[in-house]
């Protein structure tokens, strides 16, 4: 069924009786050409592009819970391409281009809203660093505009410019940056993959990876054994456990990142605002809730929940930057499992096991990467060649020191990125 305003109209007039499932719930087959472990954003988009771009339709996505239940369903929905190191730069640039065509491509309104993202800076040194970033974005072909203090005030008049611990010197505006409706992205890709014949197997947890003489042969799951010559591990925070099934130890530590949403409010924040000194960022959802977050809780965790010190720090950052939000009331808080790498940049690569691929290490930047990551992993799995925009996301860069992408410059301590 194709979605359109007309369809909504027709269904409305006929009692909404004609709607059909967005995806099937098929029984697992004994064998697929490829299986993707992980029914999150990245796994679903990988399946979608394998089917759409590479014509691989005899494939399955194995999800231990419900699809879209991981980080794609619990993030702060920010979409941007404002990196400054080679490797990240071209990848996120490509991903953003995919975002810009996503609704037509998926025939699903993911509410991608390019409302503009502003990174604030608070010293001359930070300005120079953001100028360098902005220039990197510009030479990559993406958009960036340097704002002085007055320029920021024009966009964000509600910030405290007069009495603030770390005054606003200016900001870097990324006009094409913005947000999207996170769940819809997972559902749109799921529906798109399903319509192309991909089996989405929910409540299907992988319990083992079958390897014969150095090559993958399939997986063991809670819904039986499934044979496949190509297996992609796309499980974000759970990468460590799944990779261990293939005898791998990863350069990853899983951490909790909290996020928060307030009660619905009339429109008051029109951009995505990021406050570097406070590790605080905020946008307003179309429903009216202020969606915001900050830094990791900093301790390794799989709990999908955080603790008060970081929550308080985030609120404090909000109060010093934009005291107009004081009377907004936090409705809900939650946590996601972040697969943190030693340089804060991701991994899309083959492994030492033939036919086994891994896509992980997205830290807390995974949502905006959903289209690009799936596209590039699909390319790698289908062709055996690294997709150019993701060619630098190699697993061995830490051992060799070649092509490290440490945007924060904080070094190999996983939780500092």
């Amino acid at each position: 069924m194709r979605f359109s305003g007309l369809r909504v109209l027709r269904e409305g007039l006929t009692g909404n009786k004609g709607w059909q499932p967005h995806w099937r719930d098929p029984e697992p087959k004994a064998e697929y050409d490829a299986v993707i472990i992980g029914g999150g954003g990245h796994g679903l988009s990988t399946a979608y592009y394998l089917a759409k771009t590479h014509g691989m339709t005899n494939i399955a996505v194995l999800e231990k819970g419900y699809i879209g239940g991981g980080n794609v369903g619990r993030n702060t929905t920010i979409v941007r391409a404002n990196y400054f190191l080679q490797g990240n730069s071209e990848f996120y640039s490509h991903s953003l281009k995919l975002w810009e065509g996503l609704e037509e491509d998926l025939n699903y309104n993911v509410m991608h809203s390019q409302r503009g993202l502003i990174n604030l800076f608070h010293s001359d040194g930070q300005r120079d660093a953001f100028v360098r970033r902005g220039n990197a974005m510009a030479v990559q072909g993406d958009d960036a505009v340097l704002l002085d203090r007055a320029g920021v005030a024009r966009h964000l008049p509600y910030l405290d410019f007069d009495n603030i611990r770390f005054p606003v010197y200016g900001g870097l505006l990324h006009p094409r940056g913005g947000t999207a409706r996170h769940d819809a992205v997972a559902w749109g890709y799921a529906r798109g993959a399903d319509r192309r014949g991909v089996d989405l197997l929910q409540n299907c947890e992988v319990t083992g990876i079958d390897i014969e003489n150095g090559a993958v042969r399939g997986v063991q799951t809670t819904r039986g054994a499934i044979r496949a010559r190509k297996v992609g591990i796309v499980v974000a925070g759970r990468s460590g456990q799944v990779a261990a099934m293939a005898g791998m130890r990863l350069p990853i530590e899983s951490h909790v990142l909290q996020a928060f949403v307030t009660e619905g409010l009339k429109p008051c924040i029109d951009h995505v605002v990021s406050f570097g000194m406070g590790h605080f960022y905020m946008s307003q959802s179309d429903k009216g809730g202020l969606v915001f977050g900050g830094d990791l809780d900093f301790y390794a965790s799989y709990a999908q929940r955080g603790n008060l010190p970081m929550a308080e720090h985030v609120m404090e950052a909000g109060m010093t930057l934009m005291p107009m939000i004081g009377k907004a009331k936090v409705l809900r808080s939650w946590g996601g499992i972040m697969d943190m790498t030693p340089d804060g940049s991701p991994i899309i690569d083959k492994t030492d096991t033939g036919g086994l691929f891994i896509d992980c290490g997205w830290c807390y930047g995974g949502f905006k990467a959903v289209p690009g990551s799936g596209f590039s992993l699909a390319h790698l799995m289908a062709t055996g060649q690294h997709h150019a925009p993701a060619a630098k996301f190699r697993l061995d860069r830490f051992r060799t020191g070649r092509g490290l992408m440490d945007e924060e410059g904080t070094g190999s301590q996983h939780n500092l990125h």
Binding site: S4, R7, V8, G12, G15, N16, R24, D25, Y66, G69, S89, E90, Y108, N109, M111, Q114, R115, H122, D128, A129, V131, R132, N135, A136, A138, V139, Q140, D160, N163, R165, R181, D183, E263, G264, L265, K266, P267, C268, D286, G288, A303, L308, E312, E316, G318, M319, T320, P323, K327, A328, K329, V330, L331, S333, W334, R399, G401, T410, G411, S412
Partner: protein, 978 residues
């Protein structure tokens, strides 16, 4: 209307307040909701999506409909529950989400377009044309959405945070909570009793139950009085425990002055508590669930428990002719309370067949309410019985679908609750929160006697864990012990829209459609329909929605499971959790001893980490910072300048292994440094990149003092602690920060020694104090330290005295410097001087650079191990292709260089693939008369002399630049040594 002789309000104290454009009068103890109902006001709000007219559904913080905005101007407070807001003189509240008025709301048109606005409709449309989303659809949707509004102005009110500790935290002061607190407190436990209500007693204040032969409210008041008299008890009314966190930590929001007009003068509006409890008892009660039937959302239709609360606690009947509908005995108690209060009961509709007449009112057994009418207020209901439908006139309907235990806090650590067939709801899973015991209604125990006993038992469990003994005797008081009987009733079948989530306008149809579209997992259904995502987080609706979903998917409710409850239990203002940070409170301010003097000199102070440092010292006639900066640079190059460098980290290191320790943390060697000498040191991270640099002086055989950069002082201190405790625990040394003890000033320039010799008790010369010498000195009679080191490249010193003398010495140094043709210089000049000399800062060692990149690879001593040595030798970090530190100078028409610009080969297009490097630091060098820069270029060291192109798209500047050595002034160092 008011009912005489009922309620716990103070009828001698009338209080007037404003709702929208009218003034109303209530009594002390009223909430906005009870007072409006007493005044016959039923319409209090509009729903989120269809803008349906709505009145109160509940009498508590879970209220989804009656949300109002309190106050106006900067302090306006949106989305306040009218059911919680106590009235006080001068209170002004407004309804929300309605325009032009609450009665006449233009957006009500949505309600007629409902067939097109069902579950998830927006995922299926608004896609064409693409550009319309940001320009047309989204703005319209955003304006229609949202509830109340923020003022858009800085928060003007005071909030605070605090910590509290106890043996036992009792959450909820109903019969179970009071009994738990009494039992524990009498046993000597250190107890905190927190309750979200202004009046402790919970349902005892809303019902007509008797306890120990007393009226419920009287017994509660006595219990509270006893607790208030005990030294080991802290009562926290108006305090909602909002979250359970690890190791017995709880968040709690105290509403300190929302019930008064008191603002300013230190009075805070709210306090956010961090409560640490060794044990806790959850006695949070239960929430009554509505029944879904066609048009069950009209103003005047509310839960039966709310009707009894308004009647018994506030002496208000929500209607003149009240009908009651339920699936359990509470419906009958409601009717009885109404009759007893002299209110007409239009009918009692009980979905159960086997019910006896319980009072003098028309009773329909085995019947359902299947519809209602009255757009802005209930006029009549439709009752269906034995296939026959008829109407009953009523202006209020009390409905009871049974009760849901308030299990929320037991789920905050991610454990799921357990389904109970008996009460057709979820109950806490024991042990879900370590140290927490659930008691009373939130534990699925609904009779008053049961709650009292369960509370006492829970306290005993806690006391045992605390190693305390319950006091003998002190039995549980007698009270009603009627069993709770209900027959599941979630949604009355029928046409039309039956509301589940009132605020978000989610109907039974929506949930069924979600199931049809295969959003069959409870999480999918929630996210697709927005069921349970309103301000009540599904407190009123999740159970029924689950049941409808379970029915639609053919699974049981237990199998379907619940969505997760997450903190906060009820919403918490950002101002409360972020209290103290507004303005300057976000981080401490660190001021040097020369701060006041610098400010008095007119120096703009800039943030340097937590410190403040002077940018430059303007003099008469100077109109731009550049004029001052150029002059200050000239002073240092030609005469003498004084700069406060106290913000650099200083670490005092002593012990037999101090030298060995420094050899480990620095890539170069310090054990061989002579006493009385200083050496530059480079510190690596274990991953082989540069962490920090600085000078370290050897003051004695086993005594060194290390300096760090201002930016990295904290990290370096932590790193040294790590290395000494975790990596080399056997080395014998101790160290501590002396950053704050010493005020240290750079005295730089040809006249620096002359200046100092005027202050030192024992003058110095090149013999006694050559370059890189250090030692104790007496400065103007005060014991201090002198280091002959130079960041500026001039003949320079750093002189340190105990901080108490800092301001005095700074003034003295500046005065002497001025007499010698110099003066104070600030960060701008300091930066120019160091760039001219090619000294790096964290602009260059930004965390991605190696010793190799900055040309210091040879500093990594081959003869010893050091942190970072092995990883620094990784092939990828020694690749000649890496970006290497170079200098830049303009050679084209454009003379300006800018930091952050990227570097390209001449003629090459400015694209990512052609990118050759970038500029990290620039300065106009008054010494050389042109801009100079530092930065990194691929194979840079081999490209000196090459002319390239600097491109700064952000600032719109392009310039031809020549790559050169990163030292512009006195590369041989003659000035420094001379």
């Amino acid at each position: 209307m008011r009912v005489d002789g009922k309620g716990l309000i103070d009828r001698d104290r009338a209080v007037s307040f404003r709702f929208n454009d009218r003034y109303y009068t209530g009594f002390a103890g009223d909430t906005v909701a009870s007072a409006l109902l007493a005044n016959g006001v039923r319409l209090m709000g509009r729903s989120f999506k269809y803008h349906r007219p709505r009145g109160v559904l509940t009498a508590g913080s879970e209220e989804p409909n009656a949300l109002v905005t309190v106050g106006q101007g900067a302090a306006q407070d949106p989305n306040v529950r009218a059911t919680v807001q106590e009235i006080y003189r001068g209170l002004a509240v407004r309804s929300q989400n309605a325009w032009p008025s609450l009665r006449l709301d233009a957006m009500e048109v949505n309600d007629f377009a409902w067939p097109f606005l069902g579950a998830g409709f927006y995922y299926k449309t608004f896609m064409w044309p693409r550009a319309f989303w940001e320009r047309v659809y989204e703005p319209v949707i955003r304006r229609a959405a949202g509830l109340g509004g923020l003022s858009g102005r800085h928060n003007p009110d005071a909030y605070e945070k605090a910590f509290a500790f106890c043996d036992l935290l009792v959450i909820g002061a109903g019969p179970a909570g009071l009994m738990a607190a009494l039992t524990a407190a009498r046993a000597g436990a250190d107890v905190i009793l927190a309750d979200e209500d202004s009046l402790m007693g919970g349902r005892l204040n809303a019902e007509t139950y008797r306890v120990d032969g007393q009226a419920g409210p009287d017994w509660a008041a006595e219990a509270v009085a006893e607790l208030a008299g005990l030294p080991n008890v802290r009562l926290m009314p108006r305090t909602t425990v909002t979250g359970a966190y690890d190791q017995g930590t709880f968040g709690a929001l105290e509403r300190v002055n929302h019930h008064t007009g008191r603002r300013g003068g230190g009075a805070v509006l709210e306090c956010f508590w961090r409560i640490v409890a060794r044990q806790s008892v959850l006695a949070a009660g239960a929430l009554e669930r509505p029944v879904a039937f066609r048009d069950n959302d009209r103003p005047g239709i509310m839960t039966a428990g709310a009707v009894r609360a308004y009647l018994n606690r506030w002496g208000v009947s929500p209607g003149a002719r009240v009908a009651v509908f339920g699936n359990n005995d509470d419906a009958h108690r409601t009717a009885q309370d109404l009759i007893e209060a002299g209110v007409e009961v239009a009918a009692l509709i009980d979905s159960r067949e086997d019910v006896a007449q319980s009072g003098d009112y028309k009773t329909y057994a085995g019947a359902h309410v299947c519809g209602s009418s009255g757009r802005q207020g209930l006029r009549r209901i439709t009752v269906r019985r034995a296939g026959r439908e008829f109407q009953v006139e009523a202006d209020c309907l009390a409905m009871s679908g049974g009760w849901n235990p308030t299990v929320h806090l037991t789920c905050h650590l991610n454990r799921r609750p357990t389904w109970s067939d008996e009460i057709q709801s979820f109950v806490p899973t024991p042990g879900a929160v370590p140290g927490m015991t659930a008691a009373g209604a939130c534990n699925g125990v609904f009779s008053t006697a049961g709650c009292l006993k369960d509370g006492a038992d829970a306290a005993r469990t806690a006391l045992k864990a605390l190693g305390l003994r319950p006091r003998r005797g002190g039995g549980v008081p007698d009270a009603d012990d009627t069993a709770y009987r209900l027959q599941p009733l979630w949604a009355v079948p029928g046409k039309g829209r039956a509301w589940l989530d009132f605020q978000n306008d989610v109907t039974v149809k929506d949930v069924k459609q979600a199931a049809v579209e295969n959003f069959r997992s409870v999480e999918h259904m929630k996210r697709y329909t927005t069921q349970g995502m309103a301000t009540d987080q599904g407190k009123n609706s999740n159970m029924a929605a689950l049941a409808v979903l379970a029915d639609a998917t053919g699974q049981g409710i237990a199998q379907t499971g619940t969505t997760t409850f997450r903190p906060p239990y009820s919403p918490v203002s950002i101002a409360a959790m972020g209290a103290g940070a507004q303005g300057m409170g976000f981080a401490p301010r660190r001021l040097t001893t020369s701060h006041a003097t610098s400010v008095a000199e007119g120096a703009p102070m800039i943030e340097a980490g937590l410190w403040y440092r002077p940018s430059y010292f303007p003099r008469a006639g100077e109109t731009t910072w550049r004029q001052s900066c150029d002059r200050e640079v000239g002073m240092v190059r030609d005469a003498v300048g004084v700069c406060d460098v106290s913000t650099l980290g200083k670490i005092d290191i002593q012990g037999a292994d101090a030298g060995a320790f420094l050899d480990l943390v620095y890539c170069n060697t310090f054990s061989s440094l002579a006493e009385g000498r200083v050496r530059y040191g480079l510190m690596l991270r274990e991953d082989g990149h540069v962490m920090d640099d600085g000078t370290t002086a050897r003051l004695g055989p086993h005594h060194y003092v290390m300096t760090t950069t201002t930016a990295a002082a904290g990290n370096v201190m932590r790193h040294l602690d790590f290395v000494s405790q975790c990596v080399a625990p056997k080395l014998d040394l101790r160290f501590t920060s002396v950053t704050e003890h010493w005020a240290q000033f750079a005295v730089a320039g040809p006249n620096s020694r002359e200046l100092l010799n005027g202050l030192l008790d024992a003058p110095i010369d090149d013999g006694t104090f050559p370059f890189m010498a250090c030692g104790p000195v007496t400065v103007a009679g005060v014991a201090g330290r002198l280091f002959r080191i130079s960041f500026s490249g001039e003949h320079a010193y750093e002189v340190a005295v105990p901080s108490r003398y800092g301001e005095s010495l700074f003034k003295l140094l500046v005065a002497r410097a001025q007499a010698l043709g110099g003066g104070a210089y600030g960060m701008e000049a300091l930066n120019v001087l160091r760039i001219e000399k090619g000294h790096i800062t964290h602009a260059e060692i930004h965390g991605r650079t190696t010793a190799f990149d900055i040309g210091f690879a040879r500093m990594i001593s081959a003869g010893k191990d050091c942190i970072g040595k092995v990883m620094a030798a990784r092939e990828g970090l020694l690749d000649e292709e890496r970006e290497q530190l170079v200098g830049f100078r303009p050679v084209g028409a454009v003379r300006q260089l800018t930091a952050g610009a990227h570097v390209f080969e001449q003629g090459a297009e400015a694209t990512r693939v052609n990118d050759q490097g970038y500029v990290t630091s620039v300065a106009f060098s008054p010494t050389l008369g042109h801009f100079i820069g530092l930065g990194f270029v691929k194979r840079g060291r081999a490209r000196h002399g090459e002319v390239m192109r600097m491109v700064d798209r952000m600032r719109g500047i392009e310039a031809e630049i020549e790559i050169c050595a990163p030292v512009f002034v006195d590369p041989e160092g003659g000035r420094t040594r001379g």
